[in-house]
Symmetry: C2
Subunit: 341 residues, 2 copies
């Protein structure tokens, strides 16, 4: 089915757009009362992720309510470790927790390479959402980047420093590369499955890029991201490595269409470092949306001018915070959509 | 009393040194069994901070045990909010917690400007430690940078995003500046008191620099750090803003002797951005100290060469993690001390 609004795909490919497209990381989620209503009917977060009808419903909510230019499938980056053999629980207010973690060579050899069929509920959710969207906006699929997935598999939960995962890189580099390769192979299978199911665009989230040194990031993270970028050429593809300011020049060489930026980097400097062959996505501080509307408008327009009229997808520099006011979030989207250069 | 080892002071001032001096953030702490022995005798962390004899004992331990080129007074950055009128508790495994936080204009006007006499236990600990060190190595005093102290005073505890503190910057900028000025005035008084008590060098820790955008960092953080640098000219002074990669050029203009770097920044690039008038401190990833000794030696020497023989104080890019092996930590110190260009 032809898309009625393909702005984000054209912007990602570097084709001319009439205005800057906009979507928001975590746009499907707790800032929407409509999401909380669906969520309260479920046993838990994972039930929502694993039930295609509900995942579809909350994926489409922000398209209706906020007017964003893309939907992103409601899911979780940790479905990959689970499909590889490490199940997790999502603990209320505490985040993810893995009963088993990876510590030894045999732990790694016991892991399977995930196949799309292992994640049929995501594929079903994508296919259903694609049908329900009925061509209104593109649907984005996603996965975690190998280093971030690795970090959870070793650490077993969130962490301020991910020092156990980093310790593994320093003490067991050969095993680390084996595990990263297995995660990478699983991720390529998973993303290819998402394309088959109907995803129009993909994004890789490297949420914990910022705890690594530039050298370790090259060796244990970018190398695997590059493999994924080389394998995924069917649809526009965005790499977002949070806090990876030090990797911008290298990211400019990736075989992807777009690079996500957080709010700690200067826009003009990032463009210079990444080069002109990539679309940039971002990069408003989510906390701006706590401000009054006049400030939101002023700062959003300043950001739009700094990126310029082409090769930009407006977004935040991180996900929406759950206590943000829906009306302010919607206002930000409106400001972007109404702005003309 | 003349110092027997003043390497760190000479390095900070840009005077010629025979070898690179070394100390480690959090060198007095849980990695040392001798620290844990003292700690287990106390009611809690704050009792240790507030009892000069014990603070002195644990401050000197790493000089004896690790052979570092400086002692840093055992204390906490949150003594300043407490002296201003916001007491805190240090919760085991959870970190600091404030019963009252700052929310309104009257909360701010109720805060006092801290005087050295409000923190007599720190001054007593510095004077006692200075006497007990007997000139072996210099003693470093410290304080939190205004933005980081502000963040705790608004948020009331640690946070991944400090979104409440950042929200306050966006919604109450006038009040934010009032509070930051009060913290700055208190910090200047406090650091001047530390010099009078005997501190040979000072360091400012901006632990939560990395959650701000470059623009907000200039407006709400660097401006106040600059005031402190302009007020403290008696002793060498280091500013360490964790994750403030975006502020390096601006930091080169501060009226201080030295700038701390974390391990996410490239050394040569940082030198270019900060310029040649500052000594650089850092910047090894603490997780390197989980590696085997051959790796520690190789990486430490690579770091030393990258910084060069002058205007460098070797350190980590963050504090030691509590589960690091004392022998590995000591080995890192030895490698630095034995290295010659």
């Amino acid at each position: 089915m032809a898309l009625k609004n393909d702005l984000i795909l054209r912007a990602a490919r570097g084709e001319k757009v009439e205005r800057t497209p906009v979507w928001l990381m975590r746009q499907a989620g707790r800032i929407l009362p409509e999401y909380r209503a669906v969520r309260s009917k479920m046993g838990g977060f994972k039930e929502l992720v694993e039930t295609p009808e509900f995942a579809c419903e909350v994926t489409i909510q922000p398209v209706d309510i906020l007017g964003v230019d893309a939907a992103i499938i409601f899911s979780d980056i940790l479905v990959i470790p689970e499909a590889m053999g490490l199940p997790y629980q999502m603990m209320e207010a505490k985040g993810p927790w893995f009963e088993k973690t990876v510590q030894t060579a045999s732990d790694i050899s016991n892991l399977k390479i995930a196949q799309p069929s292992d994640l049929h509920y995501v594929m079903d959710a994508i296919a259903l959402t694609k049908k329900e969207l009925n061509g209104r906006v593109p649907l984005i699929g996603f996965a975690g980047a190998p280093w971030t997935i690795f970090a959870y598999m070793i650490e077993g939960s969130g962490s301020k420093t991910f020092s156990k995962a980093k310790k593994f890189l320093y003490t067991e580099p050969v095993l680390a590369h084996q595990l990263l390769q297995k995660i990478t192979d699983s991720t390529i299978n998973y993303l290819k499955g998402q394309i088959v199911a109907g995803a129009d665009m993909l994004q890789l989230f490297d949420s914990w890029a910022g705890v690594l040194s530039p050298e370790q990031y090259n060796e244990f993270a970018l190398k695997y991201i590059a493999q994924i970028c080389d394998a995924i050429t069917e649809v526009p593809f965005t790499v977002f490595a949070k806090d990876a300011h030090f990797a911008r020049r290298e990211m400019g060489k990736l075989n992807c269409t777009s690079i996500g930026l957080d709010w700690t980097v200067d826009i003009a400097e990032s463009r210079e470092m990444i080069g002109n062959s990539k679309t940039l996505q971002g990069n408003m501080d989510p906390c701006l949306l706590y401000a009054d509307k006049a400030t939101i408008k002023k700062e959003a327009e300043k950001m739009l001018r700094a990126f310029g009229p082409q090769r930009h997808i407006a977004n935040l520099g991180h996900g929406l915070y759950p206590d943000l006011d829906k009306d302010k979030v919607k206002y930000f989207v409106e400001v972007v959509k109404e702005f003309r250069f």
